[in-house]
């Protein structure tokens, strides 16, 4: 089959693949929505430090909700139906994709970045939860709206199969999804409140000390001990990992804080609420603090630390991030309780 591209699919570059795909699919269904708003109502913000889960031998640090969480939340919105399917058979997976394209349906796919040939080689790493939208086929190439690229890209079918069936952690197993139904308008007020409530619960109310604001403080405590516990070299590896997870994977910790701040700002405009505007400013300050920590950590990793840039000082900066975030989410929790 040779489906021509859907001429009305609008590709928009985004900072983070999952929220970008969610926003692009909703826009295609006639619901104008920004990436930040999709991230917010999808309750995408999170923090978790999970040392018992290892990535390349280093503890998992995550600054965002688990892969798939945003799309799951979007799919739960009243009036929205999302068709989702995983496959065992590669041919069947590609045949279903082709059938959807033939029916002029743009299709979201979960893929492994390592197998996507249009990614520069240096940026291909084994991350299996990269989301993109396929919206056409030209000969043996699929036309792809990959939200982290400025323009649509082409991907040969054989490579797309490999990417859809990449093995390892978070293996996509051919996962495809598309919207079958969407309301004419979203009840944004309700969705904003529910999204904020969900993030407040995760950041403040988790009983686990490794999650939310408590998790940020736990990381600070561990980080301060790394040089004495692990030695200089391993401490540097751990530190570099924390920063890469923060700033390199997707939009990272500081970036995610900025995106959530953009969501709060947009919500403030939508609801004409100065309180939310103030919360957006406070969260931006938290993002700046994370980024300042990351810049210090980068200098330490690169052996160009400035005087006073020690692990103890970096731990203190992370504690400041925790304090700033706790302050914001307490305020937001209060705001949610006030909402009728």
């Amino acid at each position: 089959m040779d489906a021509s591209p859907l001429t009305d699919f609008s590709h928009r570059q985004s900072a983070h693949c999952e929220s970008g795909v969610a926003a692009n699919l909703l826009n295609h269904k006639g619901i104008p929505i920004s990436e930040a708003m999709a991230f917010g109502i999808g309750a995408g913000l999170f923090f978790g430090y999970l040392p018992f889960i290892r990535i390349n031998g280093l503890p998992l640090v995550t600054y965002r909700a688990a892969a798939g969480h945003i799309l799951k939340q979007i799919a739960k919105i009243p009036g929205i139906n999302m068709y989702q399917k995983k496959f065992r058979d590669q041919n069947q997976a590609m045949a279903e994709l082709d059938a959807a394209l033939e029916a002029s349906i743009p299709v979201g796919l979960q893929t492994g970045v390592f197998w996507l040939p249009y990614f520069p080689r240096a940026l291909r790493f084994h991350f299996n939860a990269h989301n993109l939208v396929v919206y056409g086929k030209q000969g043996d190439d699929y036309l792809i709206s990959d939200p982290v690229f400025p323009e649509p890209v082409l991907c040969p079918a054989a490579d797309l199969v490999r990417a859809r069936f990449a093995s390892g952690a978070l293996a996509p197993r051919g996962k495809m999804y598309y919207l079958t139904k969407a309301p004419e308008v979203l009840d944004r007020r309700v969705l904003i409140i529910l999204g904020i409530k969900s993030v407040c619960r995760m950041m403040l109310g988790s009983p686990f000390p490794l999650i939310g604001v408590r998790g940020i403080r736990f990381l600070a405590g561990r980080l301060a001990q790394w040089p004495s516990r692990l030695g200089r070299e391993r401490a540097g590896l751990h530190l570099g990992h924390v920063v890469r997870m923060q700033e390199e994977i997707g939009t990272g910790g500081g970036g995610f804080r900025f995106m959530y701040a953009a969501f709060l700002q947009e919500s403030a405009e939508e609801l004409q609420d100065q309180y939310l505007r103030d919360c957006a400013s406070s969260l931006t300050a938290a993002g700046d603090s994370w980024r300042e920590f990351a810049a210090r950590a980068a200098r330490v990793c690169k052996d160009r630390a400035r005087p006073g840039e020690t692990y103890a000082a970096m731990a203190e900066q992370i504690r400041e991030c925790a304090a700033l975030e706790e302050n914001v989410f307490r305020k937001l929790e209060h705001w949610v309780k006030r909402c009728p």
């Binding site: 990436e35 930040a36 520069p120 080689r121 995610f256 995106m259 810049a295 980068a298 200098r299």
Partner: protein, 85 residues
């Protein structure tokens, strides 16, 4: 290369302590970060550059204008700063 672009390039070299870089051989549109960059900078350098730009020019790279987009070349960086200063 325009004077402001040259100023930015010098700031980047100072920030990242890059030595033996022949600035005259670097073009406005050359990649700033990554293996194809003549500066040999990586994502950790990008992070430090983003923070330095914010401190020096008061311009933040945020969720919509990520460092990945803004730091494509010294020309894109100069444009972004001029538009958002």
């Amino acid at each position: 290369m325009k004077p402001f672009e040259r100023e930015l390039l010098e700031l980047i070299c100072t920030t990242c302590r890059l030595q033996d870089i022949e600035l005259d051989k670097i073009g406005s549109d050359d990649p700033l970060i990554g293996p194809d960059s003549p500066l040999g900078t990586d994502s950790l350098d990008a992070l430090e550059i983003a923070v330095t730009i914010q401190q020096e020019y008061g311009v933040r790279m945020n969720s919509e204008n990520t460092s990945r987009v803004v730091l494509q070349s010294v020309a894109t960086l100069a444009d972004y700063i001029k538009k958002n200063r």
